[in-house]
């Protein structure tokens, strides 16, 4: 973990401790720090900006109800992302998703892992990423875009860190193969 990451994690822990003590400013700080990365993560589930915003509110309500289950000084992010993932999965299971999905041309951009940007233009990568199975997208998002360690990814997904690493490796390999097929097809 880099110095910035460590400092950020320590800041999140301090905010979480303050929030558990009943400090509203600390909750707001937590919300401000986590809003954007959580929205990006929620997008990978619902592909709908408005729905992601709604689910973000649900997520923070769940976080609020479960705030005593966070034990300092454990890292905050695996705890928060596991709750977020659960909120998204519950939403998907509820069957509301299909009615609320937007057409493809209205989808927000699916972020592209920096490692992949050298392989093709962004539009192609977005297309390829969106075609990957969700569990592959999720690991790529958590590890490559949100900068989590494989241990943290494993904690969020309830899998071993080795399994998270293998999934990430396979997802990148699948992306490369699809890009190779596309280039072969274009030639």
């Amino acid at each position: 973990m880099g110095v910035d990451r460590k400092a950020e994690e320590e800041r999140l822990i301090a905010l979480m401790i303050g929030y558990q003590k009943g400090n509203m400013d600390d909750f707001e700080g937590l919300y401000a720090a986590l809003k954007q990365p959580l929205l990006r993560y929620l997008w990978t589930f619902v592909r709908n900006a408005t729905m992601a915003e709604d689910l973000l509110q649900d997520t923070f309500l769940q976080i609020h109800r479960a705030r005593q289950t966070y034990t300092p000084p454990r890292p905050v992010r695996p705890w928060v992302y596991a709750i977020t993932r659960h909120v998204a999965l519950m939403h998907l299971r509820s069957g509301r998703r299909r009615k609320e999905m937007l057409a493809d041309d209205q989808l927000p951009e699916i972020p592209v892992p920096p490692e992949m940007e050298k392989f093709a233009d962004r539009a192609t990568l977005h297309q390829m990423l969106s075609e990957l199975p969700h569990h592959s997208q999720e690991v790529l998002m958590l590890h490559h875009l949100l900068g989590m360690s494989f241990q943290e990814v494993g904690q969020i997904l309830g899998i071993a860190s080795g399994t998270a690493k293998v999934r990430s490796h396979r997802a990148l390999k699948a992306l490369r193969e699809r890009l190779g097929e596309k280039e072969g097809g274009d030639a």
């Binding site: 558990q20 003590k21 009943g22 509203m24 400013d25 909750f27 707001e28 700080g29 919300y31 401000a32 809003k35 509110q57 923070f60 309500l61 769940q62 609020h64 109800r65 479960a66 705030r67 005593q68 289950t69 966070y70 034990t71 300092p72 454990r74 890292p75 992010r77 695996p78 705890w79 928060v80 992302y81 596991a82 709750i83 993932r85 659960h86 519950m90 299971r93 509820s94 494993g154 904690q155 969020i156 997904l157 309830g158 899998i159 071993a160 399994t163």
Partner: protein, 225 residues
């Protein structure tokens, strides 16, 4: 502070319910709570049913009598600890570890039963009395497991298990293995038909109870399951 980022409805909901909370202790401390309550419960059940050690204790080698009981107790406590860990978001137990732990608990119960039968036939299974003996032993198993099961599930559901049926399954198996560890040195019968039908059957029954309790809790808490 970035107050403009926070939707007003969310701000109002949170600020109206912002009482200080005490963080949950780490899983190992909650496991110690569970062990203390379960131990007291086991002692009360043994006293209430006036249970005594099996008559063939001296025929069994130490590793098979108290040794296996100690080993099963350790496995039971580990399973309870895993259930309590699973109950906290972001510290879920990998599926492989769940499978391994649950299988170990079940296999150990069966292997201890077989090894005991090979060393000592115990009290013979009298024709026509198998059902009565089985019901008695199952009642003891259930009573011995209940304190551990109740405290474990209470601690699990007080947290926020995101996979409650898995947490319940781990807790149910842990409680059942703990009860079997004690009943192993109390039940006078070694006949495999008795052990596999009634004791192993109760083990599976308690596993199902834990799993089902998780499903019910999930339905109540999240409206699904």
């Amino acid at each position: 502070m970035n107050t403009e980022l926070l939707p007003e409805s969310l701000r109002e909901t949170i600020s109206n319910d912002l009482a200080p909370v005490r963080p949950l202790p780490p899983a190992w401390i909650r496991t110690l709570y569970a062990v203390a309550v379960a131990a007291a419960g086991l002692a009360m059940v043994v006293a209430a049913f006036k249970l005594s050690l099996r008559p063939d204790m001296e025929q069994l080698p130490m590793w098979l009598s108290w040794g296996c009981t100690a080993l099963q107790l350790i496995v039971g406590v580990v399973l309870v600890g895993m259930a309590l860990r699973e109950a906290v978001p972001g510290s879920g137990v990998p599926a492989g570890a769940v499978t391994l732990a649950v299988s170990t608990g079940v296999l150990m119960q069966i292997l201890v039963g077989v090894a005991t039968w090979m060393h000592s036939p115990g009290m013979p299974l009298i024709k026509g009395h198998g059902l009565k003996a089985g019901v008695t032993c199952s009642t003891h198993d259930l009573a011995l497991a209940l304190p551990a099961l109740a405290i474990t599930l209470w601690l699990v559901f007080r947290a926020l298990p995101l996979r409650p049926s898995i947490a319940g399954l781990l807790g149910g198996t842990g409680a059942a293995v703990t009860a079997d560890a004690i009943n192993h040195v109390l039940c006078p019968m070694s006949d495999l038909r008795h052990v596999l039908v009634w004791h192993t059957g109760m083990l599976f029954g308690l596993m199902l109870v834990g799993w089902f309790a998780g499903k019910l809790w999930e339905r109540k808490r999240f409206g699904q399951g």
